[in-house]
Symmetry: C2
Subunit: 179 residues, 2 copies
DNA sequence: CTCAATATACTCACCCGATGAGTATATCAG
DNA sequence: CTGATATACTCATCGGGTGAGTATATTGAG
Protein backbone atom coordinates (compact mmCIF):
# COMPACT_ATOMS: atom_id res chain seq x y z
CA UNK A 1 0.00 0.00 0.00
CA UNK A 2 2.36 2.69 1.26
CA UNK A 3 -0.51 4.90 0.46
CA UNK A 4 0.18 8.63 0.64
CA UNK A 5 -3.03 10.18 -0.56
CA UNK A 6 -6.04 11.25 1.46
CA UNK A 7 -7.91 8.20 0.22
CA UNK A 8 -8.83 7.07 3.71
CA UNK A 9 -9.71 10.56 4.79
CA UNK A 10 -12.30 10.68 2.02
CA UNK A 11 -13.55 7.24 3.00
CA UNK A 12 -13.79 8.43 6.59
CA UNK A 13 -15.80 11.51 5.73
CA UNK A 14 -18.09 9.37 3.65
CA UNK A 15 -18.50 7.02 6.61
CA UNK A 16 -20.34 9.83 8.38
CA UNK A 17 -23.08 9.65 5.76
CA UNK A 18 -23.65 9.65 2.00
CA UNK A 19 -22.35 12.70 0.22
CA UNK A 20 -20.84 13.77 -3.10
CA UNK A 21 -17.46 14.74 -4.47
CA UNK A 22 -17.73 18.48 -4.23
CA UNK A 23 -18.83 18.36 -0.62
CA UNK A 24 -16.25 15.81 0.46
CA UNK A 25 -13.51 17.91 -1.04
CA UNK A 26 -14.81 21.03 0.70
CA UNK A 27 -14.97 19.32 4.06
CA UNK A 28 -11.52 17.85 3.72
CA UNK A 29 -10.05 21.23 2.87
CA UNK A 30 -11.84 22.91 5.76
CA UNK A 31 -10.99 20.39 8.45
CA UNK A 32 -7.64 19.03 7.28
CA UNK A 33 -6.49 21.51 4.66
CA UNK A 34 -3.11 22.01 6.34
CA UNK A 35 -2.67 18.30 6.74
CA UNK A 36 -3.53 17.12 3.22
CA UNK A 37 -3.27 19.36 0.17
CA UNK A 38 -5.91 18.10 -2.19
CA UNK A 39 -7.08 19.71 -5.40
CA UNK A 40 -10.63 19.25 -6.48
CA UNK A 41 -9.71 17.23 -9.54
CA UNK A 42 -7.50 14.95 -7.51
CA UNK A 43 -10.36 14.37 -5.07
CA UNK A 44 -12.57 13.27 -7.94
CA UNK A 45 -9.82 11.02 -9.27
CA UNK A 46 -9.41 9.28 -5.93
CA UNK A 47 -13.16 8.84 -5.54
CA UNK A 48 -13.29 7.30 -8.99
CA UNK A 49 -10.61 4.82 -8.05
CA UNK A 50 -12.39 3.96 -4.82
CA UNK A 51 -15.53 3.30 -6.80
CA UNK A 52 -13.65 1.09 -9.25
CA UNK A 53 -12.33 -0.88 -6.29
CA UNK A 54 -15.78 -1.29 -4.85
CA UNK A 55 -15.30 0.79 -1.70
CA UNK A 56 -17.89 3.30 -2.85
CA UNK A 57 -20.98 3.18 -4.99
CA UNK A 58 -22.61 6.11 -6.70
CA UNK A 59 -25.81 7.13 -8.37
CA UNK A 60 -26.88 10.30 -10.12
CA UNK A 61 -29.27 12.66 -8.37
CA UNK A 62 -30.87 15.37 -10.49
CA UNK A 63 -31.35 18.75 -8.87
CA UNK A 64 -33.85 21.46 -9.69
CA UNK A 65 -31.47 24.17 -10.65
CA UNK A 66 -27.91 23.16 -9.91
CA UNK A 67 -26.00 20.52 -11.86
CA UNK A 68 -26.76 16.88 -11.05
CA UNK A 69 -24.77 15.22 -8.29
CA UNK A 70 -23.16 11.85 -8.04
CA UNK A 71 -24.38 10.78 -4.66
CA UNK A 72 -21.73 8.56 -3.09
CA UNK A 73 -22.09 5.95 -0.39
CA UNK A 74 -19.67 3.62 1.31
CA UNK A 75 -20.12 -0.05 0.55
CA UNK A 76 -19.65 -2.52 3.37
CA UNK A 77 -16.25 -3.30 1.84
CA UNK A 78 -15.37 0.38 1.99
CA UNK A 79 -16.43 0.61 5.60
CA UNK A 80 -14.32 -2.40 6.44
CA UNK A 81 -11.29 -1.01 4.61
CA UNK A 82 -11.61 2.26 6.49
CA UNK A 83 -11.85 0.49 9.84
CA UNK A 84 -8.85 -1.67 9.02
CA UNK A 85 -6.86 1.41 8.13
CA UNK A 86 -7.94 3.21 11.29
CA UNK A 87 -7.16 0.31 13.60
CA UNK A 88 -4.48 -1.37 11.66
CA UNK A 89 -1.39 0.46 10.67
CA UNK A 90 0.97 3.13 11.76
CA UNK A 91 3.07 5.31 9.52
CA UNK A 92 6.82 5.04 9.61
CA UNK A 93 8.37 8.19 8.21
CA UNK A 94 8.07 11.80 9.26
CA UNK A 95 5.80 12.94 6.50
CA UNK A 96 3.39 10.05 6.61
CA UNK A 97 3.16 10.31 10.40
CA UNK A 98 2.10 13.91 10.10
CA UNK A 99 -0.48 13.01 7.48
CA UNK A 100 -1.80 9.64 8.49
CA UNK A 101 -1.48 9.70 12.24
CA UNK A 102 -3.22 13.07 12.50
CA UNK A 103 -5.96 11.83 10.19
CA UNK A 104 -6.49 8.70 12.25
CA UNK A 105 -6.66 10.76 15.41
CA UNK A 106 -9.11 13.17 13.81
CA UNK A 107 -11.58 10.44 12.94
CA UNK A 108 -11.11 8.64 16.23
CA UNK A 109 -11.81 11.80 18.21
CA UNK A 110 -14.93 12.49 16.20
CA UNK A 111 -16.40 9.02 16.17
CA UNK A 112 -14.79 6.68 18.65
CA UNK A 113 -12.64 8.67 21.11
CA UNK A 114 -11.93 5.55 23.14
CA UNK A 115 -9.74 4.41 20.26
CA UNK A 116 -7.38 7.37 20.47
CA UNK A 117 -5.14 5.62 22.97
CA UNK A 118 -4.71 2.57 20.73
CA UNK A 119 -3.87 4.70 17.76
CA UNK A 120 -1.42 6.70 19.81
CA UNK A 121 0.28 3.57 21.14
CA UNK A 122 0.55 1.94 17.73
CA UNK A 123 2.18 5.09 16.38
CA UNK A 124 4.49 5.44 19.35
CA UNK A 125 5.68 1.85 18.98
CA UNK A 126 6.25 2.35 15.29
CA UNK A 127 8.31 5.45 16.03
CA UNK A 128 10.45 3.50 18.49
CA UNK A 129 11.03 0.87 15.82
CA UNK A 130 12.07 3.55 13.32
CA UNK A 131 14.54 4.99 15.78
CA UNK A 132 16.01 1.55 16.24
CA UNK A 133 16.21 0.93 12.50
CA UNK A 134 17.83 4.26 11.68
CA UNK A 135 20.26 4.00 14.58
CA UNK A 136 21.39 0.59 13.35
CA UNK A 137 21.72 1.81 9.80
CA UNK A 138 23.84 4.73 10.95
CA UNK A 139 26.00 2.50 13.12
CA UNK A 140 26.83 0.23 10.19
CA UNK A 141 27.31 2.95 7.61
CA UNK A 142 30.90 3.12 6.32
CA UNK A 143 32.40 6.39 7.56
CA UNK A 144 33.30 7.64 4.08
CA UNK A 145 29.61 7.84 3.12
CA UNK A 146 29.29 11.43 4.28
CA UNK A 147 26.15 12.41 2.45
CA UNK A 148 24.30 9.21 3.22
CA UNK A 149 25.23 9.79 6.83
CA UNK A 150 23.95 13.35 6.86
CA UNK A 151 20.68 12.20 5.36
CA UNK A 152 20.14 9.38 7.85
CA UNK A 153 21.21 11.63 10.68
CA UNK A 154 18.56 14.20 9.80
CA UNK A 155 15.92 11.51 9.46
CA UNK A 156 16.78 10.16 12.88
CA UNK A 157 16.55 13.57 14.47
CA UNK A 158 13.23 14.19 12.79
CA UNK A 159 11.90 11.01 14.34
CA UNK A 160 13.18 12.07 17.74
CA UNK A 161 11.40 15.36 17.25
CA UNK A 162 8.21 13.49 16.46
CA UNK A 163 8.61 11.62 19.72
CA UNK A 164 8.43 14.87 21.63
CA UNK A 165 5.53 16.06 19.52
CA UNK A 166 3.67 12.81 20.19
CA UNK A 167 4.21 13.27 23.88
CA UNK A 168 2.63 16.71 23.76
CA UNK A 169 -0.30 15.31 21.83
CA UNK A 170 -0.72 12.68 24.53
CA UNK A 171 -0.99 15.42 27.12
CA UNK A 172 -3.21 17.63 25.01
CA UNK A 173 -5.78 14.92 24.40
CA UNK A 174 -5.33 13.39 27.83
CA UNK A 175 -4.51 10.03 26.39
CA UNK A 176 -3.94 7.35 29.03
CA UNK A 177 -1.12 5.01 28.21
CA UNK A 178 -0.62 1.87 30.33
CA UNK A 179 2.93 1.54 31.64
CA UNK B 1 9.06 22.55 -11.33
CA UNK B 2 8.84 21.45 -7.70
CA UNK B 3 10.81 18.53 -8.89
CA UNK B 4 11.25 15.75 -6.39
CA UNK B 5 13.10 13.12 -8.32
CA UNK B 6 16.84 12.61 -8.66
CA UNK B 7 16.72 14.05 -12.14
CA UNK B 8 19.43 16.59 -11.44
CA UNK B 9 21.53 14.08 -9.59
CA UNK B 10 21.61 11.96 -12.73
CA UNK B 11 22.41 15.02 -14.81
CA UNK B 12 25.19 15.86 -12.38
CA UNK B 13 26.75 12.42 -12.58
CA UNK B 14 26.61 12.61 -16.36
CA UNK B 15 28.32 15.98 -16.19
CA UNK B 16 31.40 14.15 -14.97
CA UNK B 17 31.63 12.32 -18.27
CA UNK B 18 29.57 10.23 -20.72
CA UNK B 19 28.11 7.09 -19.25
CA UNK B 20 25.07 4.81 -19.50
CA UNK B 21 21.92 4.09 -17.52
CA UNK B 22 23.09 1.07 -15.60
CA UNK B 23 26.23 2.78 -14.42
CA UNK B 24 24.52 6.04 -13.48
CA UNK B 25 22.02 4.14 -11.39
CA UNK B 26 24.77 2.20 -9.67
CA UNK B 27 26.74 5.29 -8.85
CA UNK B 28 23.71 7.13 -7.53
CA UNK B 29 22.82 4.22 -5.27
CA UNK B 30 26.37 3.95 -4.00
CA UNK B 31 26.99 7.61 -3.29
CA UNK B 32 23.50 8.88 -2.44
CA UNK B 33 21.50 5.72 -1.82
CA UNK B 34 20.30 6.96 1.58
CA UNK B 35 19.42 10.31 0.14
CA UNK B 36 17.49 9.25 -2.96
CA UNK B 37 15.78 5.89 -3.28
CA UNK B 38 15.83 5.10 -6.96
CA UNK B 39 14.90 1.85 -8.64
CA UNK B 40 16.63 0.87 -11.81
CA UNK B 41 13.51 1.14 -13.92
CA UNK B 42 12.77 4.59 -12.55
CA UNK B 43 16.32 5.68 -13.38
CA UNK B 44 15.79 4.62 -16.99
CA UNK B 45 12.45 6.38 -17.09
CA UNK B 46 13.98 9.65 -15.91
CA UNK B 47 16.84 9.37 -18.38
CA UNK B 48 14.35 8.81 -21.16
CA UNK B 49 12.49 11.95 -20.19
CA UNK B 50 15.73 13.93 -20.05
CA UNK B 51 16.54 12.74 -23.53
CA UNK B 52 13.08 13.72 -24.78
CA UNK B 53 13.68 17.17 -23.34
CA UNK B 54 17.02 17.47 -25.02
CA UNK B 55 19.20 17.49 -21.91
CA UNK B 56 20.85 14.25 -22.93
CA UNK B 57 21.65 12.55 -26.17
CA UNK B 58 22.35 8.87 -26.64
CA UNK B 59 23.79 6.42 -29.10
CA UNK B 60 24.09 2.67 -29.09
CA UNK B 61 27.49 1.09 -28.45
CA UNK B 62 27.85 -2.61 -29.23
CA UNK B 63 29.97 -4.66 -26.89
CA UNK B 64 31.82 -7.90 -27.53
CA UNK B 65 30.06 -10.07 -25.03
CA UNK B 66 27.71 -8.06 -22.87
CA UNK B 67 24.51 -6.45 -24.09
CA UNK B 68 24.81 -3.23 -26.06
CA UNK B 69 24.82 0.03 -24.14
CA UNK B 70 23.10 3.31 -24.74
CA UNK B 71 25.96 5.67 -24.24
CA UNK B 72 24.60 8.92 -22.79
CA UNK B 73 26.07 12.40 -22.94
CA UNK B 74 24.94 15.73 -21.66
CA UNK B 75 23.97 18.26 -24.28
CA UNK B 76 24.95 21.87 -23.72
CA UNK B 77 21.34 22.50 -22.75
CA UNK B 78 21.59 19.74 -20.16
CA UNK B 79 24.78 21.19 -18.76
CA UNK B 80 23.16 24.58 -18.52
CA UNK B 81 20.06 23.18 -16.81
CA UNK B 82 22.23 21.40 -14.26
CA UNK B 83 24.22 24.54 -13.50
CA UNK B 84 21.05 26.55 -13.13
CA UNK B 85 19.68 24.00 -10.70
CA UNK B 86 22.91 23.94 -8.74
CA UNK B 87 23.24 27.71 -8.49
CA UNK B 88 19.65 28.68 -8.67
CA UNK B 89 17.16 27.35 -6.25
CA UNK B 90 16.76 26.23 -2.69
CA UNK B 91 14.25 23.72 -1.42
CA UNK B 92 11.54 24.82 0.96
CA UNK B 93 10.18 21.84 2.84
CA UNK B 94 11.88 19.35 5.12
CA UNK B 95 11.98 16.46 2.72
CA UNK B 96 13.15 18.36 -0.30
CA UNK B 97 15.85 20.10 1.74
CA UNK B 98 17.21 16.74 2.79
CA UNK B 99 17.18 15.54 -0.79
CA UNK B 100 18.05 18.55 -2.89
CA UNK B 101 20.29 20.53 -0.59
CA UNK B 102 22.45 17.50 0.18
CA UNK B 103 22.64 16.70 -3.51
CA UNK B 104 23.70 20.24 -4.38
CA UNK B 105 26.33 20.16 -1.69
CA UNK B 106 27.58 16.78 -2.91
CA UNK B 107 28.19 18.02 -6.42
CA UNK B 108 29.62 21.32 -5.27
CA UNK B 109 32.10 19.62 -2.98
CA UNK B 110 33.20 17.29 -5.76
CA UNK B 111 33.49 19.81 -8.55
CA UNK B 112 33.44 23.39 -7.35
CA UNK B 113 33.91 23.53 -3.57
CA UNK B 114 34.06 27.31 -3.63
CA UNK B 115 30.34 27.22 -4.38
CA UNK B 116 29.42 25.44 -1.17
CA UNK B 117 29.04 28.67 0.75
CA UNK B 118 26.59 30.13 -1.79
CA UNK B 119 24.50 26.99 -1.75
CA UNK B 120 24.51 26.98 2.01
CA UNK B 121 23.46 30.62 2.21
CA UNK B 122 20.68 30.25 -0.33
CA UNK B 123 19.31 27.31 1.64
CA UNK B 124 19.65 29.09 4.95
CA UNK B 125 17.75 32.09 3.65
CA UNK B 126 15.03 29.89 2.27
CA UNK B 127 14.71 28.20 5.65
CA UNK B 128 14.32 31.55 7.37
CA UNK B 129 11.58 32.45 4.92
CA UNK B 130 9.80 29.16 5.61
CA UNK B 131 9.93 29.81 9.34
CA UNK B 132 8.40 33.21 8.74
CA UNK B 133 5.68 31.80 6.52
CA UNK B 134 4.70 28.99 8.84
CA UNK B 135 4.77 31.24 11.89
CA UNK B 136 2.40 33.66 10.18
CA UNK B 137 0.09 30.88 9.08
CA UNK B 138 -0.04 29.55 12.62
CA UNK B 139 -0.68 32.98 14.06
CA UNK B 140 -3.69 33.50 11.81
CA UNK B 141 -5.13 30.02 12.14
CA UNK B 142 -8.52 29.98 13.87
CA UNK B 143 -8.10 28.29 17.25
CA UNK B 144 -10.74 25.62 16.58
CA UNK B 145 -8.64 24.15 13.77
CA UNK B 146 -6.86 21.73 16.05
CA UNK B 147 -5.57 19.27 13.51
CA UNK B 148 -4.44 21.89 11.05
CA UNK B 149 -2.61 23.53 13.94
CA UNK B 150 -0.88 20.32 14.96
CA UNK B 151 0.25 19.77 11.40
CA UNK B 152 1.64 23.27 10.94
CA UNK B 153 3.22 23.13 14.37
CA UNK B 154 5.12 19.96 13.48
CA UNK B 155 6.23 21.43 10.18
CA UNK B 156 7.53 24.52 11.90
CA UNK B 157 9.49 22.49 14.41
CA UNK B 158 10.94 20.38 11.65
CA UNK B 159 12.21 23.50 9.97
CA UNK B 160 13.73 24.70 13.22
CA UNK B 161 15.44 21.34 13.52
CA UNK B 162 16.82 21.76 10.03
CA UNK B 163 18.24 25.11 11.10
CA UNK B 164 20.35 23.40 13.72
CA UNK B 165 21.32 20.67 11.28
CA UNK B 166 22.40 23.28 8.74
CA UNK B 167 24.52 24.94 11.37
CA UNK B 168 26.35 21.71 12.06
CA UNK B 169 26.90 21.20 8.36
CA UNK B 170 28.38 24.68 8.17
CA UNK B 171 30.89 23.72 10.85
CA UNK B 172 31.61 20.30 9.41
CA UNK B 173 32.48 21.64 5.98
CA UNK B 174 34.05 24.81 7.34
CA UNK B 175 31.78 27.00 5.34
CA UNK B 176 32.49 30.69 5.74
CA UNK B 177 29.41 32.85 5.91
CA UNK B 178 29.72 36.63 5.76
CA UNK B 179 27.96 38.38 8.64
C1' DC C 1 33.25 -29.47 -13.77
C1' DT C 2 28.92 -27.86 -13.24
C1' DC C 3 25.25 -25.28 -11.65
C1' DA C 4 23.47 -21.48 -9.28
C1' DA C 5 24.01 -16.95 -7.96
C1' DT C 6 25.33 -12.51 -9.29
C1' DA C 7 26.40 -8.86 -12.59
C1' DT C 8 25.54 -6.37 -16.89
C1' DA C 9 22.13 -3.84 -19.49
C1' DC C 10 17.69 -2.54 -20.51
C1' DT C 11 12.27 -2.90 -21.51
C1' DC C 12 7.41 -3.02 -20.51
C1' DA C 13 2.86 -2.77 -18.48
C1' DC C 14 0.61 -0.79 -15.16
C1' DC C 15 -1.10 2.33 -11.55
C1' DC C 16 -1.08 6.39 -8.70
C1' DG C 17 -0.33 11.52 -7.80
C1' DA C 18 -0.94 16.17 -9.38
C1' DT C 19 -1.88 20.24 -12.16
C1' DG C 20 -4.50 23.28 -14.90
C1' DA C 21 -7.86 24.21 -17.71
C1' DG C 22 -12.46 23.70 -19.25
C1' DT C 23 -17.81 23.32 -18.84
C1' DA C 24 -22.13 24.84 -17.34
C1' DT C 25 -25.45 26.86 -14.38
C1' DA C 26 -27.02 29.70 -10.20
C1' DT C 27 -26.97 33.15 -6.99
C1' DC C 28 -25.75 37.38 -4.89
C1' DA C 29 -23.77 41.92 -4.18
C1' DG C 30 -22.88 46.38 -5.83
C1' DC D 1 -27.22 44.28 -15.05
C1' DT D 2 -22.94 42.66 -14.63
C1' DG D 3 -19.23 40.38 -12.67
C1' DA D 4 -17.64 37.63 -8.84
C1' DT D 5 -18.45 33.54 -6.31
C1' DA D 6 -20.54 29.00 -5.53
C1' DT D 7 -22.10 24.49 -7.20
C1' DA D 8 -20.69 20.34 -9.54
C1' DC D 9 -17.86 17.76 -12.33
C1' DT D 10 -14.62 16.35 -16.61
C1' DC D 11 -10.48 15.85 -19.26
C1' DA D 12 -5.78 15.89 -21.07
C1' DT D 13 -1.32 15.47 -19.79
C1' DC D 14 2.63 14.63 -17.14
C1' DG D 15 5.61 12.68 -13.67
C1' DG D 16 6.62 9.15 -9.95
C1' DG D 17 7.14 4.42 -8.75
C1' DT D 18 6.75 -0.80 -8.77
C1' DG D 19 7.53 -5.37 -10.26
C1' DA D 20 8.34 -8.38 -13.47
C1' DG D 21 10.56 -9.82 -17.56
C1' DT D 22 14.60 -10.53 -21.08
C1' DA D 23 19.02 -11.98 -22.30
C1' DT D 24 23.81 -12.87 -21.75
C1' DA D 25 28.32 -13.30 -18.99
C1' DT D 26 31.13 -14.11 -15.14
C1' DT D 27 32.25 -15.99 -10.79
C1' DG D 28 32.43 -19.06 -6.99
C1' DA D 29 31.07 -23.04 -4.14
C1' DG D 30 30.50 -27.80 -3.95
Amino acid sequence: MSNLSPEFALLGLLAEGPSHGYDLHQRLVTDLGHVWHLSQSQAYAILKRLEARGDIKSHTVEQDKLPARQKLQLTSQGRRRFQEWLDGGAASNARSIRLEFLTRLYFAQKNEPEKMADIYIAQFDQVQASIQRLTDLLAHLPPEQEYNRLSLDLRLRQIHLICKWLDEIKTKFQIEVPA
